[in-house]
């Protein structure tokens, strides 16, 4: 490990932070109106943020994984909802196109559109009936002439209400595929779903009714590829949590050093200092893991298990940090419309979004080599005697009771 940073990287981050000041200034209003301001997308495009996660050969910035993670944190600290929308498009959907498509050839126009910001992309997996159980997914691609038609409904998708391009997990014959679908065509109807937090993020779904897809845009994949692809998502969701936690901790430090109680700033109270310290230690731990996994991932290594670990711990850490920040702010935290309120609603979104912790702990255990556990009916108590109640029975002995 070498944590020395270079001047070029620091300048890039400082420039990005400066470019995104207006986005940060609009964060509260974007949350209140539950809409992503159009200017935000323009400023994201102009800042070059959308190019940071891709190699120079594809028009990207070609920077290392640590710098990528740090740049993500800059935008995520400015506005969580905007961060989700932009990073979902360029990092998750963009990486799926480059990993499973033909980025240098047939799909170059898709990459160009996503990296310039002319196209916004989404990744559509979940359907209205269920979460991560693929057995319930109905969306299907079927052959039609030289190409395909796709039909089905996807839900709980970031960017679904306004995306131009969707990477869709769908059934193909007896297996699965990723379909790169142009959403700006007839047969696509969209809906928006209100959220608990990250309210500036467009969220919802769409129904596809025999929407045409070109043959080159349908890529058969085994279902296991789904988790590998999602690992990019877990990384950016983790950074979202780290940023939310860091915002809350910075606010707590500010409040504790400025707000006076019993004649002195709050930070003189031992418990307040301890809560700040615990948050510092836990945020540092997950940030280091985010940097490390991002670094390895951009070096081409499969670190799916460790990114799953990161997603669990970073998102749950942020919830703990937010709770401590609320304690330190006291009644001020209960006033509606504050930054703290927004982050408090944002934090749990990350715990569930892109695979809940429960599902990921299963995956970490699997990666540790203890095998896969199929979901079984809960019938293990049957026949053990433990399912029975105590019942009145006549003892064969006489004169012992009472």
């Amino acid at each position: 490990m070498n944590l020395r940073s270079d001047a070029v990287g620091e300048a890039l981050l400082a420039g990005l932070e400066n470019d995104l000041l207006p986005v940060a200034a609009r964060a509260a209003e974007a949350d209140r109106t539950a809409a992503l301001p159009g200017e935000n997308w323009d400023e994201i495009r102009e800042s070059g943020y959308l190019r940071l996660f891709h190699p120079a050969a594809l028009g990207g910035a070609g920077i290392d994984g640590v710098l990528q993670a740090r740049a993500m944190e800059v935008l995520a600290r400015a506005c969580g909802g905007t961060y989700w929308s932009a990073t979902m498009s360029t990092l998750l959907a963009g990486k799926l196109v480059t990993a499973y498509g033909d980025p240098a050839g047939k799909h170059r126009h898709l990459i160009d559109g996503v990296l310039s910001g002319e196209r916004k992309a989404c990744f559509a997996v979940v359907e209205p009936t269920s979460g991560s159980d693929p057995g319930t997914y109905r969306t299907r691609v079927r052959r039609s002439g030289a190409g395909y038609l796709i039909s089905g409904t996807k839900a709980k998708i970031t960017n679904a209400p306004d995306a131009d391009l969707a990477v869709i997990l769908a059934r193909l014959d007896e297996g699965w595929c990723f379909a790169f679908v142009d959403l700006r065509q007839p047969g696509v109807s969209r809906f928006t779903t209100p959220t608990l937090g990250l309210k500036a993020m467009p969220w919802g779904g769409f129904t596809l009714d025999d929407v045409p897809v070109e043959a080159q845009d349908v890529v058969p994949v085994p279902y296991t590829e789904f988790a590998r692809g999602m690992a990019w998502g877990w990384l950016f969701i983790s950074v979202s949590s780290i940023a939310t936690a860091e915002n809350a901790l910075a606010a707590a430090v500010r409040h504790a050093t400025v707000h006076e109680s019993w004649g002195r700033p709050l930070a003189h109270l031992e418990t307040v200092g301890s809560q700040l310290a615990d948050s510092r230690a836990e945020i540092d731990a997950v940030r280091l893991l985010a940097w490390e996994t991002s670094w390895h991932r951009t070096q081409g290594r499969d670190v799916t298990g460790r990114v799953a670990t990161l997603k669990i711990t970073a998102t749950e850490t942020a919830v703990r940090v937010l709770n401590r920040a609320v304690q330190i702010h006291g009644a001020q935290a209960l006033v509606s419309g504050s930054d703290l309120e927004r982050w408090y609603r944002d934090a749990p979104m990350n715990v569930i979004g892109g695979f809940a912790s429960n599902r990921l702990r299963e995956l970490v255990a699997e990666q540790a080599g203890v095998g896969h556990v199929p979901y079984e009916p809960f019938d293990w108590l049957q026949g053990t005697g433990l399912e029975l109640d105590l019942v009145a029975t006549a003892s064969p002995l006489v004169g012992v009771s009472r």
């Binding site: 301890s274 731990a285 203890v370």
Partner: protein
């Protein structure tokens, strides 16, 4: 920034395991002394010391790999702690504070040192021993509760309070008249025991560093070690615990006729154990890098590493227990017994205010940029 793992890292870990050579210390004081001396002689003590002084001249990261490898190979973390207290706390202090007289025999393992763990807490912990000036030396009286290698060491590194309240560090002959090691049960026993000093007479040359300057000369060395290299003992022990837990999860014989690993509680526990270990390891690696490259950041960031372990070790051990059930492996029993030692020195009572001070600028401390 760079997160590559040096190719020599695995080699150092093997070397650490090799220093133990599959041996387990015997129960008697003489057997324990032989074991610490042998493991120390096998390279556990010389790692950090410059080549010109007879050491291996390795940086903190290489030494950390060696120590975690060593700790993973010793079932009882307290035994590994005994090696590290001698090889790091005592040896690094003698080297940094310029004690050339005792250092050579310590490096080779011919002599071993004892030290109270709470010395790293500096002025936050009462010294327990007073030092009065005599004609050509000092008279030391009092007691230390958490002395590692008590009763088996040649040298005893301790601080004592002078008449003016200032603290002075001494390295004294551990067999001097008036020194008594008490046998008590408790965390770390028998490696860690109370030592009483009854009017122990020492010469002026027993003073380590400057008279009255232990808090500024010795304590920063011990605190930095506690927040970096000493943590590799716990890292190695917990890495081995995680591996043993993983193996147990594959074994048959749990409830409802299923292997332990089929229980979702056990699987989630294993996931939590692995997760916390990965996070703790990252903080330790950062501290080891800072030890060499950015020591001024270690005060807060090393405290964060130590605090993280204090905050989450209970979860990690409970998780291992969830898998192991009523028949835990020996490693879990040993780690459970040793875990309270994390509260003896550099515990949350120390690391929390140190971190809070670095974040708020209170507590007589400066704000560290790295903590932002």
């Amino acid at each position: 920034m760079d997160f590559s793992i040096p190719e020599t890292s695995a080699e150092r870990r093997r070397e650490g395991a090799g220093a133990v050579h599959g041996t387990v210390p015997g129960p008697t004081p003489a057997a324990r002394r032989r074991w610490v001396a042998q493991v120390s002689a096998n390279g556990a003590t010389a790692s950090r010391i410059p080549i010109a002084l007879g050491g291996h001249g390795r940086d903190a990261r290489a030494t950390g790999s060696l120590l975690s490898g060593l700790a993973a190979a010793v079932p009882d973390p307290t035994a590994a702690l005994a090696v590290a207290a001698n090889g790091l706390l005592v040896t690094e202090s003698l080297w940094r504070l310029g004690d050339q007289r005792r250092l050579p025999a310590i490096i080779t393992g011919e002599a071993i040192g004892a030290i109270d763990l709470t010395e790293a807490d500096g002025g936050a912990h009462p010294t327990g021993v007073t030092a009065h000036r005599t004609g050509n030396g000092w008279e030391l009286t009092g007691s230390k509760r958490w002395v590692v290698n008590a009763g088996i060491a040649d040298h005893f590194l301790l601080t004592a309070a002078g008449d003016d309240g200032s603290r002075t560090a001494f390295v004294i002959d551990a067999r001097s008249p008036g020194i008594l090691t008490e046998e008590v049960a408790g965390p770390g026993a028998p490696w860690i025991a109370p030592v009483r000093l009854d009017r122990v007479q020492v010469h002026d040359d027993a003073v380590l560093g400057t008279t009255g300057a232990a808090l500024t000369e010795l304590v920063p060395v011990l605190a930095a070690l506690d927040r970096s290299l000493m943590l590799t003992v716990w890292l190695g022990a917990l890495q081995d615990l995680a591996e043993q837990t993983r193996v147990l999860a594959l074994a048959d014989g749990s409830r409802f006729g299923r292997p332990a690993g089929r229980s979702q509680a056990a699987r989630f526990g294993l996931a939590d154990l692995i997760s916390h270990l990965d996070l703790f390891s990252g903080l330790v690696q950062r501290a080891l890098w800072q030890f060499d490259a950015r020591p001024e950041a270690l005060r807060a960031d090393g405290a964060a590493a130590r605090l993280y372990l204090s905050l989450h070790i209970d979860t990690m051990l409970a998780a291992a227990g969830e898998v192991a059930g009523p028949l835990p492996g020996h490693r879990l029993l040993h780690v459970l017994a040793a875990a309270p030692l994390l509260r003896v020195a550099s515990g949350p009572q120390i690391t929390r205010p140190v971190l809070a001070a670095a974040m708020t600028g209170l507590g007589g401390s400066t704000i560290l940029e790295e903590t932002r």
